[in-house]
Structure formats: C-alpha cells, structure tokens
C-alpha cells in the first residue's frame, strides 16, 4: 500500500488551509474530497464574507475558494477528487484511509490524518414535512448558486441564523420571493446586517413563530404558521396560512463526525458547537494519536475560523512530522491562536469561545 506522510480529508476552507500549511513546511500531503470540485461550502457562497482583511473579508466566498485552490495547487500538494472516504483505521504502521474512486476501492497509509469533513444540515419534522418543495436551506443554496436552478417562486424560510438570512437574500437575488422568515426563538439568531438586507427587500421576519404543518397534494402549496410562547408552545388562535411552493429549513448544522466515530475518537456533547464533537487539544489533535480535526467537524463556526483551525492543524502536523523544530512551530501556532481568539469575541463569538474552552478542557481530562 502506498505510504504518505499526511492526508487531509475534506477540501473546504479548513482542509485547504491545512494542506497549504503542511506543504509550506515541506511535508508530503494528499488532500481528498468526495466532490468533483474542491472548495467545500465556499463555492456556493456568492456573498461577501465577514471577518478581517486577513480572513479575506469583503471578498465573495467563491473568490476565497479560488484563491485557496490556487495556493494549494502551487504548493505542490496532491489533490484527489471524486473520492469519498469511507474508512479511517489507525493501524500499527500508520493510519489507513480507504476511499472510493470511480467505483474502485482504494486505500492509502498515512502517518498523520486531518479530518476536515465539515458539517451537515439539521432537519425539522412536522406534518407534511416530506412533501416535495421542502428542503434544507443549504440545499436550496446549492441549487441556485451552483446548479442555477430556482427551487420555487414563493418561499418560506424557517430559521433566522446566518444561513437562513443569507440564503433568503440569495433566493431573492435569484428571482424568488421570500414571503416570510420565521424563527421560534424570541430574537433573530444571525447578524443584524444580514437581517437588514432582507427586511429592506420587504421580507417580514416573524420571531416567536413556528411552522405547524405544510399543506399540499403532490407538493407544498401552503404552510400554516403559528405564534409560540416563551416555552415554544403554540398559541391557539394565532395560526396563519400562507400560500407557498417552497419551504427552506435553516435550523442549524451539526458536525459531520462519522469518520471520527469510526476511528475511535473520544467525543463530548456541546450544543453550542452543533452537538457531538470530537475532543481535541490545542494542536487540534484528537484522543487518537495522529488524527487531527479542523473546521466545522470540530464545532460548527465559520469559514474564517475553519481556515484558522486548518492552519493550526497543518502546522501541528508539520511539527509532529519533524519538519518544524518547536521554537519555530510554537510562535506560528501562537499567531493563529491569537487570530482565532479575536474572531471569537463580541456577543456572537464569546459563546463559541467559551464552548471551545470547554472542548479543550475535555481534552485535558477535565470536563
């Protein structure tokens, strides 16, 4: 079996950044992704990103993806596409990674592996929720921005996190009308400036509201929404029926952790990070030696934090491979930590900072 120094699974912002760092350190690295095109979530994000200039803020998601790809290509890293990984097995000679490529089973043996598989959308069940026309917001985003297909004309968005807000805006840019955005909590979850964009376009945001049921024969024709009290109990008499042909669900993401479970990583449960997350230390290394995590798999955050975590994991892997002496690696890692810490400030970031501290504590056996 072919042996490589390091292998990165998932070519989103975390995986790309990790790959670039390992290659910069002089390491041999293979980057694997299941898609035909690398970039992860970035290529469907047509909006300008937040963050600081170092995180390429103000630049559109797909342009960030293009830049990272160019850096990856010029770094000399090997990129394997169309290759879903189905197994990661720690082994006495290294870590075996099995994947499919054009229906053929293949495997590589790596000294170090970084899992950067990202997250997946949560779903919501309600009467009628299996009707055609009801889909994840990320799915609708892929349809409009990658495949250029409008899923419908009259959309109801459920969930006011940044994904719900941004996808609502992008659906309108693509030519649909977003008739209402409903949110169960008493306040908007995402950034006010994103909410402001859809308000200016005339979309009402109804907080303390939930979807009661979807109506329709062969596809959604209308939805019934209802106001809820502070314990999320529907308030009788507040029901409202809105004619719609599409319902998008944006109720959060969960880390995509199957591979981490499979190779025996220890987990902890932190709702703020999206649920079960593999425990990792300051080097992003999990409880299984040689296996690292970065990005949404290590707690759902943002592309900017995913890139920084990827860099961190990449530097740590390069150091573990003996490519950097500690006196070089430590300041490099410190720089990344400083940037991560500033990204995790403010009313939105502080909670994630605390949650990440909890995760690091778990690695120290605290909990």
């Amino acid at each position: 079996m072919r042996k490589v120094q390091s292998l990165v699974i998932g070519a989103g912002p975390a995986g790309l950044a990790a790959t670039i760092e390992i290659a910069k350190g002089g390491g041999e690295v293979v980057l694997i992704d299941e898609n035909a095109k690398p970039g992860g979530q970035l290529f469907k994000q047509i909006h300008k990103f937040f963050g600081s200039k170092e995180h390429r803020a103000g630049i559109r998601g797909y342009d960030i993806g293009t830049q990272l790809l160019a850096e990856t290509t010029s770094s000399g890293a090997e990129v394997l596409l169309d290759s879903p990984v189905y197994g990661v097995y720690p082994h006495n000679e290294g870590i075996m990674v099995s994947y499919l490529h054009r229906e053929q089973e293949k495997a590589l043996l790596a000294e170090k592996v970084i899992l950067a598989s990202g997250g997946m959308e949560n779903t919501l069940s309600f009467p009628g929720s299996t009707l055609p026309g009801i889909m994840g917001a990320g799915c609708a985003q892929t349809m409009i921005n990658v495949n250029r297909v409008l899923p419908g004309k009259k959309v109801i968005m459920v969930g006011s996190g940044n994904v719900g807000l941004i996808v609502s805006y992008q659906l309108m840019q693509a030519g649909a009308d977003v008739l209402a955005l409903i949110e169960g909590a008493p306040s908007i979850g995402g950034y006010g400036v994103h909410a402001g964009k859809i308000r200016r376009a005339g979309t009402p945001i109804k907080v303390s509201h939930t979807i009661k049921r979807a109506l329709g024969e062969n596809q959604v024709e209308a939805v019934e929404i209802v106001q809820v009290d502070d314990k999320f109990r529907p308030l009788a008499g507040t029901e409202e029926i809105i004619a719609a042909d599409t319902v998008c669900i944006a109720v959060g993401l969960s880390p995509l952790t199957e591979l981490a479970w499979l190779c025996g990583c220890e987990f902890t449960y932190i709702p703020l990070l999206g649920g079960h997350v593999p425990i990792h230390n300051e080097n992003m290394e999990t409880s299984v030696p040689g296996i690292y995590v970065a990005g949404d798999i290590a707690g759902v955050e943002e592309a900017s934090t995913a890139m920084e975590e990827g860099r961190l994991a990449g530097i740590a892997v390069a150091q573990a491979l003996g490519l950097y002496p500690p006196e070089e690696a430590v300041p490099l890692k410190e720089e990344v930590w400083n940037r991560l810490n500033t990204l995790r400030t403010g009313p939105f970031g502080q909670k994630r900072f605390d949650a990440k501290v909890e995760l690091l504590q778990a690695a120290k056996g605290g909990n």
Partner: protein
C-alpha cells in the same frame, strides 16, 4: 414599535442615535457623508481598510463597532460597496434646495435605469416616496455590488435606504 435590530432586523431609532457610525445632524448639513448603520458587534472590519481617507476606525478587537470621523469623511462613497453587511449609505442632504441624494448598495437584477423614477423604500422595505435615479455605479472595485443614488425629498434622506426590487 421597533424593539431593535435583534428582534426586527432593523436598528431602532435609539440604536441609530447612539451608533458611532452615524454622523451628527450638523455634519449632514455640510455636504455628502457616509452613514454607517452597523449597530451590532460582529467580527468584521473591511470598511476600515476601504476608506482612503482613514475616516473609519474599527480597531481592536475586531468586533468593535465602526466609528466614523465626520471631519475626515469626504463623502466619496467608496466604502459603500465594500461592506459585506450592506450597512453603509451615503447621504447628501443639501443636494438641491428641496432634495437630497441617498446612495445605497443594490445587488439585484435588473439594475434601475439612470433618470428613471422609482419607488423608494425604508429599512423595512415599505414604500416611502418616489425618487429619481441619479446614478448607477458599477465597477471592478465594487465587485458586483451596484451602488445606486436616488434623489428624494429632503425630509426622507434619513429614511430612504433602498428601492423596490423588480
């Protein structure tokens, strides 16, 4: 009643009044100026780098609110398209005796026609007044974000923030 951006997506009158990006009443009288309606601490700072005159400061931490220096701001409008939150506007209150110019980012197709009369809306998307499209700016630097300038009756210059999307 608008309880604020966290509940409605629209900054309340109080939030706008205390917002360090929103200029004073006296500055508005003096000529075109940026109005930065960014009232929530989020990790973001491209506006700071966008201003060639150093009139916008975010500083550290990156979640601080952008602060406008109303003396330094020349009203050039370059910052409008650089804000990923689409939260920066330019207001030229005394454009004529009776009208003002309001510039805002617009990322929908089709772009309005220069010279045409359009329906102008407020922060809640509701109709406020008719206005005349004075300019439609689109260049490489603004990276796909069109900046539209509408001429509206003076009394609406701090209310009009967009136009109907077609």
């Amino acid at each position: 009643m608008n309880e604020g951006v966290k509940y409605t997506g629209i900054p309340s009158a109080e939030e706008l009044k205390t917002c360090p990006g929103v200029v004073s009443v006296s500055r508005l009288e003096k000529g075109p100026v940026a109005v930065i309606e960014c009232v929530q601490q989020i990790p973001c700072n491209p506006c700071e780098k966008a201003c060639p005159f150093g009139a916008i400061t975010v500083g550290q931490p990156i979640t601080s609110l952008p602060v406008i220096n109303e003396e330094k701001c020349t009203g050039c409008g370059l910052c409008i398209a650089c804000c990923p939150g689409l939260a920066i506007f330019r207001v030229h209150k005394n454009y004529t005796e009776t009208t003002s110019l309001v510039d805002f980012p617009f990322e929908y197709y089709p772009s309005p026609q220069e010279g045409s009369v359009v329906d102008c809306v407020g922060r809640d998307g509701q109709f406020i007044t008719k206005g005349k499209v004075n300019k439609v700016k689109k260049n490489k630097q603004s990276d796909g974000t069109t900046v539209v300038s509408v001429e509206v009756p003076k009394k609406y210059c701090m209310e009009v923030r967009s136009i109907y999307r077609k």
